[in-house]
Amino acid sequence: MIHATTEEKIASQTLMTKESQAKVEALLTSIGEGLVATDEQGLITRVNKVALSMLGLKKKDIIGKWFPDVMIDVAADGSKLNAINRPITRAFLSGQTVNDQRYYLKSDGSVVPISLCVSPVMLHGKPVGAIQLFRDISEEIIADTIKADFISIASHQLRTPLSAINTYAHMLYDGYAGELDEESRLFIDVILKAAGRMNDLINTLLNITRVETGSLVVDSLPVNLANLVKHIVEEINPSAKEKGILLSLKVGRNIPTINTDSLLVQEVLANLLSNAIKYTPKGGEVSLSVITRSTDILFKVKDNGYGIPAESKPFIFQKFYRARNITSREPNGTGLGLYLINMIVESLDGEVWFNSRVNQGSTFYFSLPHKGSNKKEGKFKLQRPHR
């Protein structure tokens, strides 16, 4: 019987450790995306070649360095962003993986657009660092810009015949070509409603491309939020009444006037309320409340409708997504409303989130900071749909 000596055992274990390390290194090198990992002090402990290449750095420039000093988050124009809004900070605030698209500053001063996924690293239930994967999406952005331009041109081209349909249908309805019987009026009503829906869809598509390409104007002017919510409820109430839904409003004390974009705030609230009404059965209830908190103003839209299933929740703000329990009940829908709301809220420097239970209803929250929304230059203002 052969017994390994202590030295042989140590040598064997050392060889196995080196092999394991080599395999881990091979694994990291083979990943097609950039990888950066940190310890619990925020210092970078691992980086792969793809990450180094994307950032234009050498390994010695990055290992042991503080993450925010190396992975420099900037806006598209190269200006630095608030630390608390960084995806990695949000990952630790939420304890969950954060997916985002950002721009990083390269070593040569240029800016690279990236799509990233960052997660806390957990050991025995405690956070011990972070791991981030990211990839260069320059080509995708070019493709998106081309797509956005196409949608914009196509939408404008569609407006012309739609305008003719609306104008002449209204003229027929008003009797310009002679008196109409009841049935004819009904038919024209259907035409006008369909044209209205098409117009709304074109507006939504245009608004989305404008937000996605950063060409949407965000004003920052004094807005009396208490008056704004009253106006929105008055606007939406007819559609609630039509469905026998009770729409109520509660305005808290000391709701301030803040500098923001009135049109965009109206659009967010109108969209949330319309959704609540749409996805609540007849005779249900929808409420809008607004309160002021220490650092923000919180709007709450609550309904007792169909709710959102658990498996749909992570996707609810994604483009074109509609929950299964909704598509069967309400086949007309584009899945763009919440996506647009999310993007508008981000451009207002606010936040939107929700909770929901199937068959019990949903509550959507929308907050705006007291300090207001930053003005953003752009080419186009939001087009609000006809309601």
């Binding site: 619990e40 608390i84 990695i88 900070t89 605030l93 969950q96 956070p127 650092t295």
Partner: protein, 85 residues
């Protein structure tokens, strides 16, 4: 007698010395996401559990170890004070 709402308020007050107006949002998120409670239901033991998350969030906001240590010590003292009552 100290009530739970006081703990949250004091946490935000301490945090605001380091994070300014972002303090409320910072602590609010930590409490909701890591403890799963409303801020007014927070107790001393919860804060002790939160400190690891607060620490690691702070290390990505500043590389000033002294500031982080000072801040966390203040929170630790606060947790002890509320645990004892």
């Amino acid at each position: 007698m100290m009530n739970a709402g006081d703990l949250y308020t004091q946490m935000v007050e301490i945090t605001s010395r380091y994070l300014g107006p972002s303090a409320d949002r910072f602590i609010n998120r930590q409490v909701r996401n890591h403890i799963g409670k409303e801020p007014e239901d927070l107790v001393g033991e919860d804060l002790l559990r939160l400190i690891d998350w607060i620490r690691i969030s702070m290390v990505f906001l500043t590389d000033d170890d002294e500031i982080i240590r000072e801040y966390l010590n203040r929170l630790q003292d606060l947790a002890t004070e509320f645990k004892a009552t």
